[in-house]
């Protein structure tokens, strides 16, 4: 397969606000495992938690300490990473890591 998984790079600027970039010019659809790995990596970075603490049943708010602004940021990061659109009413139903993974798997192009 002439495919290289795009490396997720976290860039930080002077005020600490990270943004996610895809390195490499080829951007191709990702496998199911990639989705989980990437979502974990986004969560770990944005919420400052270890990847081993992130389980499919983990609730963003109750287990991972997110607040409403974190959720907005996570949703936006997933939209950009997987080129999906997550409408607000759908985003409200994403409460656990598993919900996020399932949503992306179902809706990504």
């Amino acid at each position: 397969m002439g495919y290289t998984a795009p490396a997720l790079k976290t860039a930080r600027d002077s005020n600490g606000g990270p943004h996610l970039e895809l390195e490499g010019s080829v951007r191709m659809s990702t496998t199911a495992t990639d989705v989980e790995t990437k979502i974990k990596s986004i969560i770990a970075d944005q919420l400052g938690v270890g990847e081993d603490e992130i389980k499919p049943e983990s609730s963003f708010i109750e287990d991972l300490g997110a607040d409403s602004l974190d959720i907005v940021e996570l949703v936006m990061a997933m939209e950009e990473e997987f080129e999906v659109e997550i409408p607000d009413d759908e985003a409200e139903n994403i409460k656990t890591v598993g919900d996020a993974v399932n949503y992306v798997k179902t809706h990504k192009k």
């Binding site: 930080r12 600027d13 002077s14 005020n15 600490g16 606000g17 990270p18 943004h19 944005q46 919420l47 400052g48 938690v49 300490g65 602004l69 907005v72 940021e73 936006m76 950009e80």
Partner: protein
Amino acid sequence: MSNRRVVITGTGIISALGTGTEKNWQAMLAGQSGISTITRFDLGKLDARIAGEVKDFQPEQFIDRREVRRMDLFAQYAMAAADMAVKESGLPIGPDAPHGYIPERVGVIVGSGIGGISSLEEQHRKGLEKGFDRLSPFFIIQMIINMAPGLISMRYNCKGPNWSPVSACATSAHAIGEAWKSIRLGETDAAIAGGAEAAITPLGMGGFSVMKALSTRNDDPARASRPFDKERDGFVMGEGAGIVVLEELEAAKKRGANILAEVVGYGANSDAYHVTQPAPEGEGAARCMRLALESAGMRPEQVGYVNAHGTSTPFNDANETKALKAVFGDHARKLAVSSTKSMTGHMLGAAGGAEAVVSVQVLTKNVLPPTINMTSPDPDCDLDYVPNTARDARVDAVMSNSFGFGGTNAVLVFKRFS
């Protein structure tokens, strides 16, 4: 309950000279310059290419990693300086701490001249590139100035007045003065007060640069900030924070606090003259110094040292000198005056707080920090500016001047505690 005495029990400072009071103080006594070529962004064709960038700051030493990314750099500086000040003070808050202050009676007054400008720049860029529906949900909380005192109040459970003065280069002197007033009048019993700034960004540098306010001594950064020297050509942008803990004297004594100095006077007024130029003869500044002395119930002769506003602009330093002569009369010749901006650069909204920390050091360590880079005497600036070398001297009262764009002035008076 009026006219209670107010003391300082903790200090926190971050500047181009380093993070922490002791590090700053030692650098000042050694006459070090914190100014160098800007490394943080591409300077393009900017006229002014030097600044006092903070180089050793590690936010994770003070703030949870996750919180760091939700804060603009100015708020990180504020949190870190507050942390150092509260630690030094041992300020107890809440019923569980021995002699703990009632949370509702502890204020946080921390301002910034400019606020989260790097966040503003970054998010504006993002909006133009990706659309304004793709901004970070943290943008507003990063940008707004009162997030600094808000975050500090959350950490220490300070439930009293919580707000930010915004008065350019007088910001944090106003913050400390207003906190002093609030405790003095019995509205609060303790406060965390000062300011923070992080405006060494393309917009911040570009904006001041096109006003011709900044030094363009780009080839000799360490000698660019030269207050009161004839060759001065503008201020050098600095950044960082200066925050102090203030307590009502009797409460501080009761809890056995280590009292560093007393805040005894505060003046605040306006030039009502021009957006950037000081009023002729430093009239507004002089009036403000008199207000501060009056509120302290002190005669000019009782002041031994003035930490000047001393920005290194041609206008400020000549006018401040005139104002000092007008207020202090014959005593102006005996007075020691220095500008620590010669070493830190001008920290804008953090300057008054940082210089309050310096003033406290002067009273506790009995040494006057120098004005560095004084090599060419200016006939318009003919006072004793403690040129180039720190000086051992025991003074009992210190005045700290802060004047800002918009014609705003704030002056604080500190006294040796006895």
